[in-house]
């Protein structure tokens, strides 16, 4: 069954070219990508992840607000019972901020210049095929 991925852009920056490139690459890797568009609040992201029953959430953040946004998104998702859904972050993240994000439950961080193959491989690695019960 195709892997379902939510690609979301939290916060206020208006550039979603990176998010679209990733969405396209994941589609070409056979995944179903739910793209939510710009300026998503943590609540919107958690709700979309729940309704779409995705396997993984990818956040694209270029604004520098990742330290404020990412832990909030993780908490909001956990509150909705989505603690089993991993979060990936892509964008401009200073190395010094990585430990904080990882401590907040982010499984991987992809900076500029990451190849899309690397991201696809990472998703395949961390996701065991969704159990259909």
């Amino acid at each position: 069954m195709p892997i379902r991925v939510l690609i979301a852009k939290p916060g206020l920056d208006g550039h979603d070219r990176g998010a679209k490139v990733i969405a396209r690459a994941l589609r070409d890797a056979g995944m179903e990508v739910i793209y939510t568009g710009l300026r998503q609040t943590p609540e919107m992201i958690a709700e979309a992840a729940l309704q779409e029953d995705v396997d993984i959430v990818g956040l694209s953040i270029l604004s520098g607000a990742h330290l404020a946004l990412v832990p909030k998104i993780r908490q909001t998702m956990d509150k909705s019972g989505l603690n089993d859904i991993p979060i990936l972050v892509g964008g401009i993240i200073p190395d010094s901020d990585r430990p904080t994000l990882e401590a907040a439950g982010v499984t991987a961080i992809f900076g500029p210049g990451t190849s899309t193959e690397e991201i696809v491989a990472h998703i395949h690695k961390i996701l065991t095929p969704k159990d259909t019960q």
Binding site: P2, G37, M44, Q51, D53, S80
Partner: protein
């Protein structure tokens, strides 16, 4: 899994999401789930929204959802987008236009990929609608992929079908072609503030005057097969008068214009179906066609299990070498299967 069914019936949204995945992935126990949910279905009003790409279906669905929410009705949205035939992946982008619906617990939106199905819906759409119906939503809006002229499957799943058109998409010959326009219960001309809207309305009117099936509970072309369902004598005291003529409603969905009129038209269609007992006919017909579909699928699966894999490769090679024509090849394949030939 039974837990999930119970949770869904108690209004748990995660259970609803998980069960939608189970039917979509055709999980082994989906039969059990659907059987348990089936007695709770049949209550929602299912509205299909179809039309060419770019006519504004997602925006219209958003506007309709807001209007129904204002009436206090709960709404589930099922938005279908195409799967790439090359990678099997899909980009499901309908939520982009639906962002203002976020945060409302009376709304549930689910995106679905077609996963290779061609009729404008996915194979699991009918089952997904039932799961949402059992969850107790008053209205279920099903948005098809951007459809052209032959994606008419939605009419087999919806109680009211909206066909959305917009100015500038083609001349009036497009409007008289068979197919998608004929399944409309309500025709919507969206983006009605754009130049050419009057022309679009006029072509649709002309099409309707030239003759329209009016009541699709008579004949439906399905997967190349014409199916006739007897109208079992209900409601034909005066066929002509009883016939439903699709109204044409002009909207500007992005500004909420015309949405009130559209909801009135949908309500009128709903009352027409209910008063005329046509609803019973429509449902009978939909069930009959669904049974044919499911039977065909089940037989096909069984049949394929009985045909050794190499027979296909062999036959394909012979057809390509022009040694045998496709129709004779089918007969030759069937001859190798006991109980069928």
């Amino acid at each position: 899994m039974n837990d999930l069914v119970e949770q869904l019936l108690n209004g748990n949204r995660r259970a609803l999401a998980r069960l939608l995945t189970a039917v979509e992935n055709e999980a082994a126990n989906r039969g059990e789930v659907l059987a348990a949910l089936f007695p709770h279905t049949g209550r929602a009003w299912v509205i299909g929204v179809t039309g060419a790409p770019g006519t504004g279906k997602s925006t219209l669905v958003t506007a309709l959802t807001k209007a129904y929410r204002a009436q206090g009705k709960t709404v589930a949205v099922l938005a279908v987008d195409p799967t790439s035939p090359f990678s099997g992946g899909a980009i499901l982008g309908d939520r982009i236009r639906m962002r203002e619906l976020s945060g409302d617990t009376g709304v549930f939106i689910r995106s679905m990929a077609t996963r290779g199905s061609l009729g404008g819906l996915s194979r699991a759409t009918r089952s997904a609608i039932r799961v949402m119906d059992a969850a107790g939503f008053d209205i279920i809006l099903v948005e098809t992929v951007g459809a052209g002229q032959s994606e008419v499957d939605i009419a087999l799943a919806a109680k009211t079908t909206l066909v959305v058109d917009a100015p500038g998409l083609g001349d009036d010959v497009q409007a008289i072609k068979a197919g998608i326009l004929e399944i409309a219960d309500v025709l919507v001309v969206n983006k009605a503030d754009r130049p050419g809207a009057k022309n679009t309305v006029r072509s649709l009117k002309t099409m309707l005057e030239l003759g329209h099936p009016g009541s699709r509970s008579q004949v439906v072309a399905h997967h190349g097969q014409l199916l006739r369902v007897e109208s079992n004598g209900v409601g034909n005291k005066d066929e002509v008068e009883a016939m439903w003529l699709p109204p044409i409603v002009e909207t500007v969905a992005s500004e909420g214009k015309g949405i009130g009129e559209l909801i009135e038209a949908i309500d009128r269609h709903r009352h027409y179906l209910a008063n005329d007992a046509a609803l019973i006919n429509l449902e009978r017909q939909q069930i009959e066609i669904e049974l044919y579909d499911r039977l065909r699928e089940a037989l096909m699966t069984r049949l394929l299990q009985k045909i050794p894999g190499n027979v296909f490769a062999d036959v394909i090679g012979r057809i390509q070498a022009r040694e045998i024509d496709p129709e004779s090849a089918v007969m030759a394949v069937l001859a190798k299967v006991p109980d069928v030939s």
